[in-house]
């Protein structure tokens, strides 16, 4: 990933910025420019919307064969999280043992390293999901 391409995604990756359709109030992540439900009537009415970061595990899968930059973390779980706003977001689960993950468990977005471009390249940061601490 080029530096500029990642940089453009910082609001989404750090703070879960998506969009909300002003016509039907549905929240989308990642950003959409048109609401698939309202279509033409949503043009110009899609608002920037920050997700609360809180949600529940809707489903998850355990990754045993990881890409090289994730090898030190394997096995790890990737989950579809149903956010409090209703939208589903995919992300890695951290700070929980694989055997302790339950469908429906409460999680929240945390900022973690999601990759780095070698020893001398940029470090990418973004959201992962951890069990709620509070």
């Amino acid at each position: 990933m080029t530096v500029a391409r990642f940089w453009r995604d910082i609001p989404s990756r750090y703070n879960l910025y998506g969009t909300r359709c002003d016509s039907c109030d549905k929240v989308y992540f990642p950003v959409r420019h048109i609401c698939p439900g309202c279509r033409r009537s949503s043009i110009g009415r899609m608002q920037r919307h920050r997700l609360s970061g809180k949600g529940r595990v809707h489903s998850f899968s355990v990754v045993h064969d990881a890409p090289p930059h994730m090898s030190s973390l394997k096995p790890y779980a990737v989950a579809i999280v149903e956010m409090d706003e209703g939208v589903k977001v995919t992300g890695q689960l951290v700070d929980v043992d694989i055997g302790e993950i339950d469908i429906g468990m409460g999680v929240e977005a945390v900022l973690r390293k999601i990759g780095e471009e070698g020893q001398d390249g940029i470090i990418h940061y973004g959201f992962k999901f951890a069990p709620r601490l509070d």
């Binding site: 973390l73 700070d95 945390v110 973690r112 390293k113 999601i114 940061y125 069990p131 601490l133 509070d134």
Partner: protein
């Protein structure tokens, strides 16, 4: 001085390793080492954690507890000796992650283990002068000791963040001072992965002299004695030094205990006094007086005299995890996993 702590937040990674396990690998009596250092376990960051993620977690916990508009934050300083980049400030990511960007001053600080408290002093000055409304100072580290070195038993990870301002302060700064000399007790040259130290030279002429002088001078300036304080938070490279220092200064173990986290999490370096102070604020009552003295090798000490205000009664501590909460749900690692997590294993490519 009409400046104080408006909010605070802390973060310690979940993983732990014991001195016994470290000693097992290096043919040393780890149990005795842990007893000598008074360290029962130390925190270990996950491979996807670094000073940026730890500082961000602490800052987010801090912001959750108050209703402060991030746009009103005029400065953010992160003190650490393990910033992920040599060039590219940690604070830029943290500021973006709490949406305090773009109109604010940001810089990364380094003064061994006291860079976080140096940040507190800088923000105190900026807030006190009216230059900014709120400022953030964070102390965080993911410190490393060379494999097999005595430092490996203590070097750990964690951090705490403080929002400093003049309105609704939960603890007021009565004063601060620093005591600084050229004392080469511990250092790391540019490009070197692990620090070096002067062994026993890190004790009397370094830690004890600087922390002791800063504490004594602070009390002299404030006209106080140890009996005037409910808590003392001292830099804690191990569990023994702060207890001995406090005793030398005339403080009791009861005054030290709440701010002493090293026995559970090891030496979090720039995070040590900030985390100890967060632990005290977690249980502090109005009127409590706190003396906090950080130490950074090289060497210097920053002392702070604080009084907890009535505002702490309405402060929403429960909105974020407390220090006690961070001591729960921990996971112990064996040395091999620890070595993998800390990048001590030479990988291909």
């Amino acid at each position: 001085m009409d400046v104080g702590i408006v909010s605070y937040g802390a973060y310690v990674p979940r993983f732990r390793i014991t001195p016994t396990e470290i000693g097992r690998v290096w043919g040393q009596d780890g149990k005795a080492m842990g007893k000598g250092l008074y360290i029962n376990s130390k925190s270990v960051p996950s491979p996807d954690e670094d000073v940026i993620t730890i500082a961000t977690a602490a800052a987010r916990h801090m912001m959750r507890r108050v209703d402060v508009d991030p746009a009103d934050i005029g400065a953010l300083y992160v003190g650490s000796e393990s910033h992920p980049y040599a060039v590219k400030p940690t604070g830029t990511v943290v500021a973006e992650a709490i949406e305090a960007s773009p109109e604010l001053c940001v810089a990364d600080l380094e003064f061994a283990c006291k860079a976080g408290t140096a940040g507190i002093q800088m923000v105190m000055g900026m807030v006190g002068s009216g230059m900014i409304r709120y400022g953030i100072a964070i102390g965080a580290d993911t410190s490393q000791g060379a494999p097999g070195d005595a430092l490996e038993y203590s070097a750990s990870a964690g951090g705490a963040a403080f929002l400093i301002g003049r309105e609704d302060v939960i603890a007021r700064f009565n004063g601060t001072l620093s005591y600084t000399t050229d004392t080469p007790d511990f250092w790391r040259r540019e490009g070197q992965p692990y620090p070096s130290h002067g062994g026993r030279f890190t004790g009397e002429p370094a830690y004890f002299k600087h922390v002791g002088e800063a504490a004594r001078r602070m009390m002299e300036r404030m006209g106080t004695t140890p009996g005037d304080y409910n808590h003392i938070v001292l830099h804690q490279p191990n569990g023994k030094f702060p207890q001995r220092m406090a005793s030398m200064l005339g403080f009791s173990n009861d005054q030290v205990s709440r701010g002493l986290l090293t026995p559970m999490i090891g030496n979090t370096y720039s995070g040590a006094v900030p985390l100890g102070l967060a632990s005290v604020l977690d249980i502090a009552m109005p009127g409590d007086r706190i003396l906090a003295v950080a130490y950074g090798s090289g060497a210097g000490s920053d002392a702070f005299d604080l009084t907890v205000t009535d505002n702490i009664k309405n402060y929403n501590r429960a909105a974020a995890v407390t220090i006690d909460g961070l001591m729960e749900n921990t996971k112990e690692l064996d040395y091999a996993t620890y070595a993998k997590y800390r990048g001590k294993i030479l990988m291909k490519g």
